[in-house]
């Protein structure tokens, strides 16, 4: 019984982790007042870059680093167009999503069907000795543990630091923040690049750790689900975690239903995370006051210093 619960827990953590990275990154971006809809494109590009690097070197960390750089490169393009040139953020974000999808498919052509050999996790040895939960936790990839560190960092940034307040000011009232001397444009650039890097890690996790196999469009909409999670979380990091694992659990339902021999079409089970996304969006958005009070007031609106 406990074993079963533990394996459900582990599966949920494993499936929720890419959403944690993608959504926490986008949360920081949106808190600065920038709406980057291109998460899916950045994730996919990160995924193929990481996959290619790991296939060549066998080193997951090199791959993750390369994915971060790839995500940042794409988000830099977004930032130049959306922040500096003040182009329509929705349109640029869509362009990024479409471009990233095409780019990853193009780069990944040579890798379709290639499988990676999983390397034993170094952290595994450390926690394996723990009573009861040890063996289960040892199966978790270090990137799962690092995602908790990321959460702690983002939470601390938003809730306990001056930098977090400045970020919020830039997202709520950029003109006021600028007037008292904060570099609004630079802060938005930094936040957007951070979001790009995290989307890259999320993609790397999906292709290298989660699937260890390349297929076109491997992230299967997780970038978009991450965007929805930020709304669901009303821009709060702790709720992002809750949401991410909720979705991790939903996407794992499929495996458990199959294990129990439930006669439901697999397509319906696969559709569950997307339907659940719509459901939670509806549940959270129906309270429009809640959204209005929490959404960064200048989200999606370009800022231009009047000199």
């Amino acid at each position: 019984m406990i074993d079963q619960l533990l394996s459900i827990l582990v599966a949920t953590l494993v499936a929720g982790t890419p959403l944690v990275y993608a959504a926490l990154g986008e949360l920081v971006v949106e808190r600065s007042g920038v709406l980057n809809l291109g998460v899916e494109g950045m994730m996919l590009t990160g995924a193929i870059v990481a996959f290619a690097v790991v296939a060549a070197t066998g080193n997951v960390w090199l791959g993750t680093g390369a994915a971060m750089l790839a995500g940042m490169a794409l988000s830099l393009v977004f930032a130049v167009l959306a922040i500096s040139l003040q182009a329509n953020q929705v349109a640029i974000g869509l362009a990024l999503a479409i471009f990233g999808t095409g780019l990853s498919a193009f780069l990944g052509q040579a890798y379709v069907g290639t499988a990676l050999v999983a390397e034993p996790s170094a952290l595994g040895g450390l926690v394996a000795g723990l009573p009861l939960v040890g063996p289960s936790l040892a199966r978790l990839h270090p990137l799962v543990y690092l995602s908790w560190l990321l959460f702690a960092g983002v939470w601390y940034l938003c809730r306990r630091t001056r930098a977090g307040l400045v970020l919020q000011a830039v997202g709520e009232a950029p003109a006021a923040a600028f007037a008292i001397g904060y570099p609004v444009i630079a802060i938005r650039y930094a936040a957007t690049l951070f979001g790009g890097a995290m989307a890259g890690v999320a993609g790397a996790y999906v292709s290298v750790v989660y699937a260890a196999l390349w297929t076109e469009g491997i992230t299967a909409g997780r970038g978009w689900i991450g965007l929805a999670l930020v709304v669901f979380a009303t821009w709060r990091p702790e709720r992002v975690m809750l949401g991410a694992y909720l979705f991790g659990g939903v996407s794992m339902l499929q495996l458990f239903a199959q294990g129990q021999g439930v006669a439901v079409p697999t397509e319906l089970m696969t559709a569950l995370p997307y339907l659940a996304t719509i459901l939670v969006l509806v549940l959270i958005s129906r309270d429009s006051t809640l959204i209005r009070l929490n959404v960064p007031a200048s989200l999606g609106k370009p800022f231009r210093a009047e000199t």
Partner: protein, 359 residues
């Protein structure tokens, strides 16, 4: 010297026309560069991919076949984009159009009734509109973001079609391949250009262009949508209903996408497979932007994007390049046109350096 980025006194009409041209030009240059990188003669490759296909009747038919669904969907999307209603679920609406139309086609194919094709067309439009009504309802009733809802429904629609084609709709005589039985003659659009596959579904796109032009440029509702997109506050003050705009936008674009779906099913494909569209629903977003959200612009942009699809197919055959090369250049083009659009309202000027002033 320093570069200054400043707002123009009035939006530049010249740039509004020039920006899609610049975007397409830069895309072409990048294509040539890619051909050169692949070790091909760039100009000869471009000619082989973009111009040679247009020398034959067959090629022209293929070109128009690819352009028609793009134009059809993009006109529908432009209605919503003008009002700031972002339907990015056209791909899913196209698929549900096929599911609705396909259900009729498979059931009554053998009847040979002349009413079957009109019924399929109506069912396709209804299917697309139904799928788009979901984000419309959720947005107007529960304030749920239509971008995310319509996008999620793309995945759901694809899974629905996959389920049908692998399950109840699978052709018993198809050697277990995931495909329906071929549709009967009564369920197919007649070919209109001898020596090609071009069929009557192309008239759906033409009708959409005319209707779209009238709606966007000459109707009061079209004007209301525009005001809502430009200044929602002013629109509300004038008593224009934003909810109504959401419904009109989504139903129109959904129905258009559904029509494009049955155009594919009862047109060049003539059967139902798990994958029915090479991403027309997403490419149409780019066509809408490239065409400046106007009917005339969309006609040109759709023909251009159709050519891009056509040359993508040729590059696949010739170079063994993946189909995604088309998506790559589409994304690039959207980037470029949105970036170039910036210079409609802004300009860059070179000014002498300012003297250093005290902070």
């Amino acid at each position: 010297m320093r570069l200054v980025f400043e707002r123009r006194a009035a939006p530049s009409r010249l740039m509004a026309w020039l920006s899609p041209v610049i975007a397409v030009g830069v895309t072409l240059v990048l294509m040539l560069a890619l051909f050169a990188l692949a070790g091909r003669d760039p100009l000869a490759s471009l000619q082989a991919f973009m111009l040679t296909p247009l020398e034959s009747t067959w090629g022209i038919g293929e070109w128009l076949l690819k352009s028609a669904p793009l134009i059809l969907i993009a006109v529908g999307l432009a209605v919503g984009f003008r009002a700031g209603v972002w339907n990015i679920g056209a791909e899913g609406q196209l698929i549900v159009g096929i599911i609705f139309g396909g259900a009729l086609a498979l059931k009554f194919s053998a009847s040979g009734s002349p009413l079957l094709l009109p019924a399929i067309i109506l069912a396709g439009a209804a299917g697309g509109a139904f799928w788009a009504a979901i984000p419309a309802l959720l947005r107007t009733r529960f304030n749920a973001n239509e971008i995310l809802v319509s996008l999620m429904l793309n995945y759901v629609a694809q899974l629905w079609l996959t389920y049908l084609v692998f399950g109840p709709w699978r052709d018993p005589a198809g050697f277990n391949a995931p495909q329906s039985e071929p549709l009967g003659q009564a369920a197919l659009f007649p070919v209109v250009l001898e020596g090609s596959r071009l069929n009557a579904s192309v008239f759906l796109a033409l009708a959409a262009l005319v209707l779209g032009w009238v709606f966007l440029n000459r109707s009061y509702a079209g004007f209301q949508l525009r005001v809502i997109g430009l200044a929602e506050g002013a629109a509300r003050y004038a008593g224009f209903s934003v909810n109504r705009a959401v419904w009109i936008s989504l139903l129109a674009s959904g129905a258009a996408a559904g029509l494009a779906g049955v155009g594919e099913m009862s047109g060049p494909i003539g059967q139902i497979f798990p994958t029915m569209s090479p991403g027309y629903g997403f490419a149409a977003i780019i066509v809408a932007f490239l065409g400046r959200l106007s009917a005339v612009g969309i006609a040109f942009a759709g023909l251009l994007m159709g050519l891009l699809f056509l040359s993508g197919d040729a590059a696949q055959l010739e170079f063994g390049w993946p189909a995604s090369i088309t998506a790559l250049f589409q994304g690039l083009m959207l980037f470029l046109v949105v970036a170039a659009d910036v210079f409609i309202t802004y300009r860059i000027r070179l000014l002498p350096r300012l003297p250093r002033s005290a902070p």
